[in-house]
Symmetry: C2
Subunit: 453 residues, 2 copies
């Protein structure tokens, strides 16, 4: 009989019943959000045109544990708890004394962790009478997760999809449409922001910032419609903590403790989801776990950005937040990890980095694809280009252990599958991908437009 334990699985009964709110354990309270027009702290009333009240309460809460509603738990059980897998074949290929574990979020119907927050966001909207949600999507992970959640709760979902993705990733658009999502290429003729952009440049390929502007305008202009965001904000990070809470239980089943915890970092949500429960143990129990956020070298928000107040979008329509930022008009190169192409970062992750509770590291595009292929050829699953950044760091840590002889327990978040990213893999194999060195002068330039708070 084979006694190898390759994964730890939890039953429906073991699904976490509460989200962990790391703000409750912060030594210093987080900075408030500021209104983009007045420059004063944004009030819940001002935000209520975009978000349901329960979401806003969570956004500003300092309660330690927040109940996951039964109806949300019922739907999360579709695919959660997700497996924690030990990468035995990858360990063997690396000849490392380290143990490598990955939390496998690609089992969700939309293929990534984004569903974890799409479901509660749709639930609270439904409960407060929202008939329709407008949102933006870049690579399509968030738009498809929200389309799915809308389908499950009977809410119409409108997705402004960055035009270049709309054209390059038709499968993601079709997936959203199969779940009933209404998808339009952004810039569109359906909003003033879109029409203005098209008037200025009829061939505009769009940007995430512009798509946000369209979705926000749509939601603000209709009584039946709210807006939803898939990363960055506190309530999104909160909903994702279910990842780390499950992982801690599953590491106990393997009878190990994490020495190193790794997540890729774009807006911050999958990283926060895995890492916050472990950082909580550092804050409250004095644990020494090493926590690493991994970002692309071509969009080095945490490693080369500035900790300052900035807008969440290019157009300056969102609230102003204190975060690591490259400046809201920083335009990242066209790397294939579309979900990591963001100028800012979660304010909570930013504060924890600033206070020394985690470290940040950047990796180039080619080494991250190399890691993804090594992973796929040993562990089987095809990683999303975003998640591959975490794999790269995990492999590097394991190779370091090989040098030093240490047998660390390395845990990373495999936040999504790459089934809709295969053209990127093909380009990698053909040698058509590249790295993007960023001169310091480019970075300084985009910081000039920071708002004054």
């Amino acid at each position: 009989m084979s006694s190898l334990m390759r994964k730890a699985v939890l039953s429906d009964r073991d699904l976490p019943q509460k989200w962990y709110n790391i703000v409750s354990d912060f030594k210093n309270p987080p900075q408030p959000m500021y209104h983009p027009a007045t420059g004063k702290p944004a009030t819940p009333e001002q935000m209520a045109v975009l978000f349901p009240m329960e979401i806003l309460k969570q956004e500003m809460s300092s309660e330690r544990w927040i109940e996951i509603p039964d109806e949300v738990q019922d739907i999360l059980k579709l695919y959660r708890p997700s497996p924690l897998q030990r990468a035995v074949a990858l360990e063997k290929a690396l000849e490392t004394p380290a143990k490598i574990f990955y939390k496998w979020e690609g089992v969700s119907p939309a293929g990534s962790h984004k569903v974890n927050t799409a479901i509660p966001q749709a639930y609270y909207n439904k409960k407060e009478g929202t008939k329709r949600i407008a949102t933006e999507t870049g690579a399509g992970q968030w738009g498809s997760s929200l389309s799915l959640a809308g389908s499950l709760f009977g809410i119409d979902v409108k997705v402004y999809m960055v035009k270049i993705s709309y054209e390059q990733k038709p499968y993601r658009r079709m997936l959203m449409e199969t779940w009933g999502g209404k998808v339009v290429a952004s810039p569109s003729m359906e909003t003033k922001a879109g029409r203005d952009a098209l008037a200025a440049n009829p061939n505009s390929m769009g940007s995430l910032g512009l798509a946000i502007s369209e979705a926000v305008e749509d939601a603000a202009g209709r009584d039946d419609t709210k807006y939803a965001l898939g990363s960055v904000l506190n309530h999104v990070c909160l909903h994702q903590t279910i990842i780390g809470l499950e992982t801690k239980k599953q590491l106990e089943m393997f009878d190990v403790e994490a020495d190193v915890v790794i997540g890729c970092h774009g807006g911050g949500s999958n990283f926060a989801g895995l890492a916050f429960p472990f950082i909580g143990d550092k804050l409250t129990k004095g644990k020494k776990t090493q926590i690493i956020a991994v970002e692309p070298s071509s969009c080095p928000t945490l490693t080369r950005g500035t900790y300052a107040f900035d807008f969440g979008d290019v157009a300056g329509m969102t609230p102003i937040m204190k975060m690591y930022t490259l400046g809201h008009d920083f335009m990242p190169p066209g790397i294939h990890a579309g979900g990591l192409r963001y100028h800012g970062a979660s304010p909570l992750v930013s504060q924890l980095l600033h206070e020394g509770l985690l470290e940040a590291r950047s990796v180039d595009q080619l080494p991250s694809f190399e890691a993804a292929v090594q992973f796929a050829r040993t562990e089987g699953f095809l990683p999303a280009p975003e998640s591959s950044h975490a794999i790269r760091a995990a492999i590097d840590e394991a190779l370091e252990c090989k040098k030093t002889g240490q047998s660390k327990n390395i845990v990373f978040n495999l936040s999504g599958h790459g089934h809709f990213d295969l053209t990127s893999y093909e380009k990698y194999f053909k040698g058509e991908l590249q790295d993007y060195p960023l001169p310091e002068s480019d970075l300084r330039a985009s910081l000039k437009g920071l708002p004054k708070i």
Copy 2:
């Protein structure tokens, strides 16, 4: 606390350690395979040029239980046991008193049940010194599963992919290449069969039968190379019984017994995998479970075919088997469930149908897509077009329960995801798909070439 049980999960420890060989419980022994050239029963020695000896032993075994080697179990644990899910949201949408359960095989790295047999086939080949395996693939599920298994065991895999699929499904090809598979469009210039076909018709789009001919020629002509098949044969059905064995344990966790067991049917492997352990209970314990194989109306092998000896391929190069067949030169219409476009059927499934232990049903393409969309919008997961045939039958059974008031337990195999089939969904939404009525005269014509045994 939510007490809903939405899925039954088993741990690595619960992985079945033996495959169930239904032949051991047959009242009448299965018919032997006949050599295509001599018309006499094929000997293991004749088959050994194509298959490793251990596979041939399994093909002809009448042992009840066959040990799953530890090394195979170790790799199956990557994604197995797979979940058995209760379709609570679909039940609610249908307003049925029935309970619906689906075995979710899309969690495998290649996205379908095909991996369950690719791994042991690669293992036995590796053990017996095979350096390289040649195979064919239509829609690409089998080619990608074998490419994955080859990657895990260090065996080169060559895939002859039907040219029309090669061009229409580039993502499947890229997936195989990411795992290191060498993929060529069939007909190719690499075999005599391919060159002959191209000489006759330079624009040939290929067929599964021709691709089989190329792969068999490739394997027969090289000492380092064997051939592998992803369905139909006894050893393939054997490897798939792990599906039904797990399902039986998981139904116990739900505290129910299956009343109806449903699988889609092409060559027969996913159907056999789920159904054989339940049919075993009918044969040995007198259980009355209803067992339904669901095929496309446009390729109605089991419902309108003849139980006779026929070749497994179009070119007449494979052994001759007793099975339900539409005639080996039957050319099915271009439905999108490519994996169900096969003129024949597993000899074991055929015999069980002939002896009244299961029933067969056919469904049209449009109602199967309608079922798939209803499933995706309630249960979230996107089904493969093949699996959608099983969903259609499960929904029809549940709707019948609504009429009669019976609360049956309906179990079906969701054999794969549809991530690489989204263009079919798009065509369905655009109204570009159709059904294909088959006149009796068409069916009679293709039966004229049956070999005489």
